[in-house]
Symmetry: C2
Subunit: 234 residues, 2 copies
Amino acid sequence: MHYELYYWTGIQGRGEFVRLALEDAGAAYRDVAREEGDAALQPFLDGGQPGMRPFAPPFLKAGRLLIAQVGNILHYLGPALGLVPDSESRRMQALQLQLTIADLVTEIHDSHHPIGSALYYEDQKPEARRRAEDLRTQRLPKFLGYFEQVMSQGGGRHALREHSYVDLSLFQLMSGLDYAFPSAVKKLSPKLPHLRALQQRVSERPAIAAYLASARRLPFNDNGIFRRYPELDG
Amino acid sequence: MHYELYYWTGIQGRGEFVRLALEDAGAAYRDVAREEGDAALQPFLDGGQPGMRPFAPPFLKAGRLLIAQVGNILHYLGPALGLVPDSESRRMQALQLQLTIADLVTEIHDSHHPIGSALYYEDQKPEARRRAEDLRTQRLPKFLGYFEQVMSQGGGRHALREHSYVDLSLFQLMSGLDYAFPSAVKKLSPKLPHLRALQQRVSERPAIAAYLASARRLPFNDNGIFRRYPELDG
């Protein structure tokens, strides 16, 4: 199967969770907007293409299928790319964890955009400061402690006892947090030994290491989900 | 199959999306916390039970399976309850739409809790006023316009050309918005004829009508996701 990934250019964003799965598996894919520009997304967002209209990027074309929502895309790709355990019950566990990661990703985004995603950060700085404090002190410890315990109960090396797209997403989550909240995450790290070791191991997987060293991996920047605004890092 | 639903007592909350599916299908289920109190959830949230630990309610026990995250639960229940089209591609479309509904539900929640979900509304009222304005003027028109167009392209009667759990969730979404943002939704309604007609039709389905008339359907209240704070309705 030759895939087509559609996501905004210029940022890693939510598209990166899909990109990491495709890269790790060595899948053949085209990153369409990076070749053709963001305008390539519009006909799909306008609902003018066959298949279920996506509300937002990322979305994936796989043959005649058009699939949107990160969790849904990875749930589809998992078996095809060998990135999820075989059984239906384990597939559901993977989706459960991925949707929980997605919830945290939204909260991280909202830490710099608590009032409106279409407004500038500069127009919501005092609110962002309050929200980020709540994220650092309440939400991050709760979510990351949860993923740490899930890993611990599963033997410590993986989210699901074997390699899966969830491990790749946890790598991306931790890497983004290292960029955006270096001080907050450093404080939490002693309680997250499994997550930290997983992050390291994923970065050393040959296909991932090659991807991270390539130009296809955009650096984190302050237009994406993970933004380094020191005033939000406490 | 006899199901056990676990969700906080006292509110409809995210549990209601699962409850509506179980009720519509006439499934045998126990609403455990309503019988035993919220304490019944804790052993699962603490990770002391078999299966993948849930990050938060709702979660469902189905035999030996323990399943969390609304979209994941409905993706599982869909085929078992006859609430999703048969084909894999249609199942993915259902999940895509359900996850998009979940995104909007989070945004609706955050309109009264833009700073922190553990803080009181009274501690974030000015921020809530700004966020709710963004929800009313930007996000609701965009999301509801999307669902309206999806229905329109699918023939107008259903989200997926036939009855599914997505229709039930759209009913719940519109009903909650009627409670929380009566004025804002009234203004948008002329552009949402299919959603409005769907909401009415779902409410008239015999099993749903019986459920809505029962004591099992809690009234909306100002502890849940959908809250009637007139100052947020513009």
